[in-house]
Symmetry: C2
Subunit: 306 residues, 2 copies
């Protein structure tokens, strides 16, 4: 079974505090690490985590405020010092090509591996190996996007009694049918997988909002997601500030999570003003009980539903 883990590398907003570094979320899927935002100090958070930054294949930037991207140049330089040869892809809204070029020309640095930037926009679907990344417009005070990681559909449940009834011998043929491959029996009968499999089942879905006010597009994207990672910069008593700066309160994120029917909501981009995370968590849980404020370096395992 493909492992899918989230590691919250930085859960703070605007600037780092002793407890929370600025924005960065790593998702490990099999041997690949995907990075969503890369604030200053992300490479050091990796050092403190069980992950290796050498496994990063793609970096997705939500918008161009420093606390979301200033960790890129140091990370790229360190990869080089550690003899990286594999290309790395950086995705972001319009302007990512210019920004990437700028970040590659600071001081004495020339990458010896390929750094490839990709401009993305609302509605784009990036087709990856076994999953897609969908791009959704967010609503911040600068152009911003959210990302939805959606695994490909899995084959339906295998109907073992039916397979036995059809005279298919238990063993390797079962396994091939389970993986969606047609087989031919010794008696010449051809068995199509759909004859013994239920309806294809949804893969896992993780939606990452970046900085945003609560918005419909993200709510729609998050429909039935396993995990919604949404910013909750402030508690409800700072709703005016949230609106003014293009952010959400924890409670607004919780309303959105509830409406979208997600399994769990993780709140990030916590303002440095909050020393005690319970203020944010309690604000959200009034609306949606499965709301959590992760600590930096906290790991969340996303399991396949039965």
């Amino acid at each position: 079974m493909t492992q899918l883990n989230i590691i919250f590398l930085g859960t703070g907003g605007s600037w780092p505090t002793v407890k929370r570094n600025v924005a960065s979320i790593a998702i490990k899927r099999d041997s690949e690490v995907l990075l969503f935002d890369c604030g200053e100090g992300t490479q050091r958070q990796f050092q403190k985590s069980p992950l290796s930054y050498m496994q990063i294949t793609k970096i997705f930037i939500t918008h161009f405020h420093g606390d979301h991207f200033l960790g890129i140049p140091g990370l790229l330089q360190t990869m080089q010092l550690n003899d990286r040869e594999d290309p790395i892809h950086i995705y972001g809204p319009r302007g990512i090509d210019t920004l990437t070029t700028q970040l590659l020309h600071l001081g004495y640095f020339k990458p010896s591996y390929h750094v490839i930037s990709h401009e993305v926009a609302d509605g784009d679907v990036i087709d990856c190996n076994g999953y897609v990344i969908k791009v959704v417009r967010a609503n911040h005070n600068v152009p911003a996007v959210a990302y939805s990681l959606e695994e490909n559909k899995r084959p339906g449940r295998f109907n073992k009694p039916k397979a036995l009834e059809m005279g298919i011998p238990e063993g390797p043929l079962f396994s091939r049918l389970q993986k969606g491959t047609a087989i031919t029996l010794d008696d010449g009968r051809e068995i199509m997988p759909e004859m013994v499999l239920g309806k294809p089942r949804a893969g896992r879905k993780i939606v990452i909002s970046g900085d945003t006010t609560p918005c419909e597009k993200i709510r729609d994207a998050a429909k039935n997601a396993d995990i919604l990672i949404h910013e909750g910069t402030f508690a409800s008593d700072f709703e005016d500030n949230a609106r003014e700066y293009g952010h959400s309160t924890a409670q607004q994120a919780a309303i959105l999570a509830k409406e979208a029917g997600v399994d769990r909501l993780f709140l990030t981009h916590i303002s440095p003003r909050y020393i005690d995370k319970r203020i944010i968590e309690d604000d959200a849980r009034k609306i949606f009980s499965a709301s959590y404020v992760p600590k930096d370096l906290q790991q969340v395992v996303v399991r396949l539903k039965k």
Copy 2:
């Protein structure tokens, strides 16, 4: 008495580890904080230290490898978010103007306070309030400089018996003479400070090498320094690597410190390969016993000599 404290914000070289962040040294003198190099994550190190980054007046960059300057943009942006209005000065070797401009144009950021860059070269003396910063050419694999902070001379020791013998009444007049001001007694005699003061005494001196092979210019600059902060990237068994990449071994730094007659040597820019700092410290102490490898956030008080 003017306080002069060094806080080692980042003592690692090349890339950050769990224990050591990349290069940054703060010197607090009175209410002013001077920053020597500013690797990625420096603003977070400030958060963990007793200092405030809002007190930084000047940043001195030794050279343009990422581990020495990539913390600048985040620091400047955070100052802005905290309503900085005071100007900030950034010094560095040729190219600092271009680099500063680049760092001020990443993403959506426009500073509302003045950021002023200053190109420096070997032999330059930056005259500050009560001290100077001297610039010395270092010898790295890219253009690099070292900095020497030298306090102005202090008035000589006050000869109290002599003052009393001359009929000067104890009290505020003593204090004025001690500060170097001439006075006139009630009987009309004019007393010049040098009549009751010994020879002017040297202020304190701290030399910061940046990345460099051991070199004569830095040794000369460090003559009789209270503190030499010198890179000691490797222990002696990696002397070939040190030479190849323009670095020093701990022992080479110790030889230089001994020749220069400094009081104490602090070794920084420790390679990530060293988990145990004693390897570096022992290597240096074979030559110069007052050699230390500081931990990140360690504070050193530089006292005036009697």
